[in-house]
């Protein structure tokens, strides 16, 4: 009887939670952003002009029962064509959430976890004034920048909510998911799963008060594939074991009437005891924006990204300005221009310096 009682309790609770009265219709919606870009970052190639379907996201959402919602988010990047091997197709989210109250929501399944301000909305082009996002969040660069090194892109369970306290909303989120050691080689077994004993754990603690929103975020996991990166292999040291990795983030934004400022910093630290290697990374951005009219807003933004794979170190800074013009409820025209400065050092000797500009125009559509 002792063994059956918990099962009966669980069954009764599940029945109680899943009241069918909340069943709703299947909602289909999404957005896409088409761009035209001129880029002059590589002197050898010269100026590049290109059109691109930068991103398309398709959402399927359904209220399954009272307090239960599910959502699927499919993301298509960079003129995707499987026949031509262009771009990428991602299943970005597939989750079910139980919302008990504003203070407690539980999300099960694949989702983008709460980490800093921009992480949750980084892929949601209608919400962003940018065409090219602050670089650690630019998922259309995923093919050549390890974007998910900076902020966690995927988690599998999350508990979140907010608690009001003296006029302040105290936000919290804790989440868990796979570590970074995902198998991509069919020869080694099932792909797309963590084939090690590692897990990721993380969270965010934040405050909201009037126009101010600020928070601290972190994740912890263990990296076990560093030895596989050929160009950083050190003779006689093929196996570095599992290296603990901590991501630390701080974010703040303030809106006053039509003006706003937002800023974020992320530090990725590898607790490697080996002096020969250092993979620490830093990212910072700050944006100042002003909404002149409902149909016109402008922003100035600065990004800094530093990556190390000692003895190699690289640093990139971007200064960018842009405007965003909503046309009706569902269409936004965007313009953005940026100046990029990039340096690479090997053993503190500068081995590569690049500077260039980019000019983008985009049409963002929500449907």
């Amino acid at each position: 009887m002792k063994k059956i009682l918990p099962i009966i309790c669980l069954f009764c609770t599940a029945r109680l939670l899943a009241q069918s009265s909340g069943d709703g219709p299947l909602k289909v919606f999404g957005y896409f952003q088409n761009i035209v870009q001129q880029e002059s970052l590589n002197r050898k190639i010269g100026v590049l002009n290109t059109f691109a379907l930068q991103q398309l996201n398709l959402f399927l959402q359904k209220d399954l029962a009272k307090n239960w919602t599910s959502l699927i988010n499919i993301e298509i990047l960079n003129n995707y064509s499987s026949a031509r091997q262009w771009g990428a197709l991602n299943l970005q989210e597939a989750w079910v959430r139980y919302r008990h109250s504003a203070a407690l929501s539980i999300k099960f399944g694949l989702h983008t976890p709460v980490f800093n301000h921009l992480n949750e909305i980084k892929n949601k082009t209608p919400l962003l004034p940018y065409i090219i996002r602050p670089i650690a969040y630019e998922t259309s660069f995923e093919e050549f920048i390890t974007v998910d090194e900076f902020a966690p892109d995927r988690a599998n369970i999350q508990i979140s909510g907010y608690v009001p306290w003296r006029g302040v909303k105290v936000d919290y989120a804790v989440f868990g998911g796979n570590g970074p050691n995902i198998n991509s080689d069919p020869g080694k077994g099932q792909t797309g799963i963590d084939t090690t004993g590692t897990m990721m754990a993380g969270g965010r603690f934040g405050l909201r008060c009037k126009g101010l929103k600020a928070g601290l975020s972190f994740t912890y996991d263990r990296y076990s594939q560093l030895a596989a990166i050929e160009d950083i292999k050190i003779p006689g040291r093929d196996d570095y074991g599992e290296i603990p990795r901590v991501r630390f983030g701080i974010d703040a934004q303030y809106h006053f009437d039509r003006a706003g400022i937002e800023s974020e910093y992320i530090h990725v630290n590898y607790h490697d005891k080996n002096d020969e290697i250092n993979f620490d990374r830093d990212f910072f951005y700050t944006t100042v924006n002003y909404e002149y009219r409902e149909w016109f807003s402008a922003y100035l933004t600065y990004w800094l990204i530093q990556q190390q794979a000692l003895p190699v170190k690289s640093k990139m800074t971007v200064y960018s300005l842009g405007v965003s013009c909503p046309v009706g409820e569902r269409i936004t025209l965007k313009l953005q221009s940026g100046k990029v400065l990039s340096n690479t050092w090997l053993n503190k000797v500068n081995i590569g310096r690049a500077r260039g500009n980019y000019y983008d125009a985009a049409i963002s559509v929500f449907f």
Binding site: F59, R97, Y162, K169, R258
Partner: protein, 141 residues
């Protein structure tokens, strides 16, 4: 001549509050008689989704960019585009659809009166007994 100018000025000052005053209305069965600014904002940004008795909150918006809508959002401390951005964020996070936007204040009154848990805003001149008035938004001079 000066008298007339003063009279016109006085009438103008009286007339603006009379026509532009905004009232927050709700379905007659909602379990509250008054609402605070912070609660109203929580309803409109989707942070609170239920009335104290558990009834779902159904929020209505106005389609047209009338003075009533401008005053209401200014009172909440948000621009219209900021509110749209919050609703879109909620929708893309699976938190629910944006509020249904009514073409006219008269339509808003009818919808709020006939939808359990509904809340909306209209000019004071449109209010009748079919809805409950939760707040009259003071005009800042």
């Amino acid at each position: 001549m000066k008298k007339y100018i003063y009279m016109i000025f006085l009438l103008f000052n009286l007339a603006v509050p009379l026509f532009a005053q905004v009232t927050v209305i709700a379905h007659r069965d909602v379990p509250v008689e008054k609402i605070k600014k912070s609660q109203l904002l929580d309803f409109y940004i989707g942070d609170i989704k239920k009335w104290p008795d558990g009834t779902a909150v159904v929020v209505f918006d106005l389609k047209e960019k009338k003075a009533v809508k401008k005053i209401f959002y200014k009172y909440l401390g948000k621009t219209s585009s900021r509110m749209k951005s919050i609703w879109m964020k909620n929708m893309l996070a699976g938190e629910g659809a944006p509020p249904k936007a009514m073409k006219t204040e008269k339509q808003m009154l009818l919808e709020v009166a006939s939808t359990p848990g509904a809340i909306g805003f209209i000019g004071q001149t449109f209010v009748d007994n079919s809805v409950k008035v939760l707040k009259t938004i003071p005009l800042k001079k």
